[in-house]
Amino acid sequence: MTGFLTLLTKEILRFWKVAFQTIAAPVLTALLYLLIFAHVMAESNAAFRGVAYDQFLIPGLAMMSMLQNAFANTSSSLIQSKITGNIIFILLPPLTHWDYYFAYVIAATARALAVGLGVFLVGVLVAHVPVAHPWAILAFALLGSGLLAALGLIAGLWAEKFDQLAAFQNFIVMPLTFLAGVFYSIQSLPPVWQAVSRCNPFFYLIDGFRYGFFGQSDVAISLSLSVTVLSFLCLSAVTLYLIKSGYKLRH
C-alpha cells in the first residue's frame, strides 16, 4: 500500500505544484470558449428546448476540459519520465500493475475534477446552471476522467516521442471531444451526423453529464451510462494488460 500511496502522492504533487498551468489555464481557456460561443451562438437553437445556450454550454465545456486534462495528465507524466529516463525509479521497485494503474488514474481524475469544478464555478458567474441529478454529474465526471486517464496511459506507453503523443492528442482526442456535442445538441444535426455522433463514446459522456444538470438528454441516461461504464472497463482492462506485459516499458 505504501508503494501505491507514494506513487499517487508523486503524481498529485506533479500537477499540483504547477497548478497555475495544470488547473487555472484550462479553466481560463474554457471561460474564453464560454464567453465567445455564448455571444455568437446566443440566438441559435443548438441547445436543449427550454435551456439557454450559455447554460447548455457550461456542462459541455466542463466535461470537455475534464476529459482533455485527464488525458494530458497521465500521458504527459509517462512520456516525460520515459524520455528523461527517470521512469526506472518506478520500474525498479516492487510495484504491481494495479499500483501503477490506480496511482496514475486517480491522480489524473483529481486534476480533472479540479478543472471541472473550476469551469463550473466560473460558469455560474456567467449563467445560472441547475443541478437536477447530482449522482449523474458525479458518476459521469468520475467515469469520464477515468476513461481518458486510461487512454492517456495507453498513449503515453505507446508514444516514444513528444510528437507522437501530440499526434494522438490532436488526431484522436481533440476531434472526439469536439465532435461529442460540447457545443450543440445532436438533435440539431442532420440525421447522418446524428448517427455518426452516436458512434463516438465521448458523446455519451457529455450527454449523460448534461443530464445531471438539466434532467434532459439526447439519448436515454441508461444508454449513456452503459456505454460509459463499458468503455471505461474495456479501456482499463487494456491498460492493465499493457502495463502488466511491460509493453514498451520493459522491452
Binding site: T2, T84, H251
Partner: protein, 300 residues
Amino acid sequence: MTAAIEALGVEKRYGSLAALDGVSLEVREGEFFALLGPNGAGKTTLISALAGLTRADHGTLKVMGHDVVTDYRAARRALGIVPQEIVFDPFFSVVETLRFQAGYFGLPRTRALDAWIDELLANLALTDKADANMRQLSGGMKRRVLVAQALVHKPPVIVLDEPTAGVDVELRQTLWQFVRRLNAEGRTILLTTHYLEEAQQLCTRIAMLKQGRVVALDTTQHLLTAFSERVLRVEVAATLPAPVAREARKSEGHWHTFALHDTTEVESRLRWLREAGVTPSAIEVSEPDLEDVFVKLMHR
C-alpha cells in the same frame, strides 16, 4: 545457501544481435563480484534483465532465490541497482528523491528511515546538498544520489553498473570505502567497471563477458595467476655472458627481462645471475595485472 544472484542460460536478442548469448553464472551471498567486459559485451543488458527493466528471451534469473519474472516483487525488494546512465527527477530535491524512492519500495516515512537517509547522505558526501534540487547537482553528485537511491531500501544485493564513471578520484575512494563497508556487513556486491585496478583491488571473483558470453569466471587470484605472468627486470651495465643472454626473454638497452613462474623464484633467479658474474644495478618485479588478463582474454 541460496545464491545472491543466479543466471541460467540467459539469452537476449536485439534483432539479429545476441546481446546475451546463454549467460550462466552464480554470485554467492556476501561476495564482492566483478562483471567485466568491453563496451557492448552485454553487462548492462544482463543487469537490466536482473532488474526487470528488460525481459530475457530465454533462461532464468534469480535474486536471493526469487525468480525475477514469476516472483518479481520479492526479487526487486532484494535488489538495489545503480544504473549506468545518470537519470534524475528534476521535480525533487535530493532528500525528497530518497524519501520517494523508499516509499516506492514500501517503506513508510519513519524516524529510522530518516536516520538511514542521513547516514547515506553523510557516507556519500551529500549532506550539504540534501535540500538542493536535483537539477543543481553536478554529474558526480547525481551519480552518488543514484547510489543512495539504490541503497535506500537496504537491499541485500547491490548492483553497480559503472558507478565511478565521471566521479573524481577522491569521491571514488569515498564510494569504495562505503561499498566495502556494506560488503563487510554481509551485502552482496556486483560491480561492473572500466577501471580494472578497481575490480582487482575490490573483488574476490570475476566474470568476464565478451559478445554476450562468459569467457572467464574465476577468483581474481586464479585469473591473475592463470593468465598473466610475472617477470623480473634487471638493469646491467656490462654485456651479459652468453648463457645468461640466451635465457633473457627480452633485452632493451641495459634492461633485460626474465620470466618468473611465481614470486618465490625471484631469489633463485638473482642468485643464478650473481653466480654467472652479473651484478644488476637495479631490479624490478612486475606484478600481474588484471589489464593483462583482460586484454589476453578479449583477443583470444
